[in-house]
Symmetry: C2
Subunit: 405 residues, 2 copies
């Protein structure tokens, strides 16, 4: 008999809790697994021995269904950067102490590429010290920027929200008779995946987004203004999708960095809005989809939620088969009919790496997305959950605040 622990890390998505459900449901089926501990605030809960027994909180299948449709991380999150063990072994000793004291034989870490760095370091440390605790990474990020895997859990739901919302913004922006420009700023850090997904609207027969700017392409303000003028000659209401990480002249971005040395990106939409107003002088508005694009589970992709649960479950099986230092990944077999298989990859191939949009997805003018990309995006946004409602509003599964403090 052994116990297991699971933690959630990094920025919220609609699918992190579905992966927790996958770990939980799969672990329940395994006779040799006893307690399923949730670590509060990611790896920080392991370091500080702040674990909660999930079986006491999740009592019914209905609880699991609610958890599947609840956005963000029910166990809290962190942006903790695990130091190298050579620099600071103390924290590793604390982790080992908690895991041994709680008789934990496998630890599942649901997170982005920074969390996969933790999986990599921790499993290497355990191997070095002959500690038999499996460490498995379950990927997640709306940015879709993890290597090896075809796509990341959470991306499909974010893309579905972005596309559907942009579709609605297109309707909203085109009502008046005067020409206008609407600039929508979309997340994704240094990768343009989420912004590029907005081009799915072309498959629905929309001319919008008329311009799409991703960090992987060349960008200049003069070219942008020229692109806008060209589109205004053709369309009354021009809609532009731009990645938060698109490189712009100095001074736009705040320069503040997080614990991983990443810059907080924000503000390009507002900046471009002001330049259009100043240099073109037409009606212009910028819209930040903000955190809604990562937490709007009321419009999640069923494919994404189902896959996110499945990849969590596959992580448990991987650990039971002796895997450690692995990250679970999707390999796409076919676009149509859409088929994926779940495999595992070495965490060191994924940790701290970023995957960018293929060049062939971006048009030669560097200002839109080619149709070839659509067969990649479309399968990921299919299907709708049967969302449980309470008083007209989607219901969430939560853990009382006092247990998380």
């Amino acid at each position: 008999m052994m116990n297991i622990a699971v933690a959630q890390s990094g920025g919220p998505t609609c699918a992190i809790n579905a992966s927790l459900v996958g770990v939980f449901r799969e672990a329940l089926k395994v006779p040799e697994i006893d307690a399923i501990f949730g670590s509060v605030n990611g790896i920080e809960g392991i370091i500080s021995n702040h674990l909660i027994d999930l079986k006491t909180l999740i009592n019914t299948n209905e609880d699991l269904e609610l958890l599947r449709q609840t956005p963000s991380t029910v166990l809290g999150s962190c942006r903790y950067k695990l130091p190298d063990s050579a620099d600071d072994e103390e924290v590793y000793k604390k982790i080992v102490k908690t895991l041994k004291q709680r008789r934990i034989g496998a630890f599942f870490y649901i997170g982005g590429n920074d969390s996969m760095d933790t999986v990599n370091k921790l499993s290497a440390y355990f191997a070095e010290h002959s500690i038999d605790i499996k460490v498995i990474g379950i990927p997640k990020t709306i940015d879709n920027d993890l290597c090896v895997t075809d796509h990341t859990p959470g991306f499909g739901s974010a893309a579905k929200y972005v596309i559907a919302t942009l579709h609605e913004i297109v309707r909203d922006s085109s009502v008046y008779s005067i020409p206008s420009v609407t600039i929508v700023e979309i997340m994704g850090r240094h990768a343009g995946w989420l912004t590029a997904s907005s081009a799915v609207l072309h498959a629905l027969g929309e001319t919008a987004p008329h311009l799409v700017y991703v960090p992987e392409a060349e960008f200049s303000l003069d070219k942008f203004l020229n692109d806008v003028r060209n589109q205004m000659a053709k369309h009354k209401a021009v809609v532009v999708a731009v990645s938060e990480g698109t490189e712009v002249p100095e001074g736009v971005q705040s320069g503040v960095v997080d614990n991983f040395g990443h810059k907080y990106l924000s503000g390009i939409g507002k900046y471009l809005e002001e330049e259009v107003r100043r240099q073109i002088g037409c009606k212009v508005r910028s819209i930040e989809l903000n955190v809604m694009q990562r937490c709007s589970s009321h419009l999640c992709s069923q494919t994404d939620i189902d896959e996110s649960e499945a990849i969590g479950a596959a992580g448990v099986r991987c650990a039971l088969d002796g895997g450690t230092g692995k990250v679970m990944v999707f390999r796409r077999v076919n676009d149509m009919p859409y088929t994926v298989v779940i495999e595992s990859a070495d965490a060191e191939l994924i940790a701290n790496e970023e995957k960018f949009l293929p060049r062939e997805y971006i048009n030669s003018e560097d200002n839109n997305i080619n149709d070839i990309a659509l067969s990649y995006f479309l399968p990921l946004i299919q299907g709708d959950l049967n969302i449980r409602m309470d008083m007209g509003i989607p219901k969430h599964f939560t853990i009382q605040e006092s247990l998380l403090r």
Copy 2:
């Protein structure tokens, strides 16, 4: 036999097209009505004789179902302020010319309080000149600030989006272990209805929104900062809902005015974010729900859409019964079971007037909403449309751009 015309005006909502469906479906049932003309860009289409024959564009019941779930105004919109006929009779003559040339016996104007001003002026002019053309107003606005009517078509869907999205933002904002403040700026112009609706979350067991500021209550920056500090003592992640129209120190709002002399309101969320950062120094984020709160029909209220269609249909019956210069209104008979009846009221009672939150809805500290308000809001957000999807995205009914130019 006669023809009729219908137009849409003002800012988009999720329900304006449903009211158009109501007018269209009801008119189809009436043997004495022949053509149903849509006026492009509100009253501007009547002035310039830019009408389209809707029966040639809307061919099936499926078209109507799609139109019901399409946000914004399929016929375009305007913010045209009809002058007094004493000041400028020319425009009235153009309107009469179009209506007579097209043999239009009734004109239905779907819009907010400014459009009801048009209904009022036009019907008075027709009466004065013994012109037998009925003019009926069908209300709409997410701001819910029209007098006489219990609520306005479009408000329920906007409220449902605001409440559900705030719920998701609450999940998103509470993941990290450090204290934080999240400020959500909500539309509604000078009325706090939409912002106040966010308090429905309390009925779902949420402590958030911890603070709610509406234009009808007293506001001061010092008191706000003190309120935030008090809430931070109790909650790790404080969530604040604030109306765009909440009065703040000078210099925050842009001062730009539209054709009706209304100030464009925006920026209080950002302003309060900066003050919290500067004076409290904690993690803080502001979020503008922006146009999404008026066009996110993927999460509309079925009650709202059904009522919006019904009030459009009732407008047609009112005109056939000889009504003119009237605005259709809801009178609530009961909260639970929720019952409303549709009546008509004189347009002059509604034109240019605003309705504000009752004082008893606002708590004595001027920083939240009392539970007594919930029975008003709850019925308006109930039910979900069976949204038609295409490739994973809600489908829209549109009219080709060339016909709208």
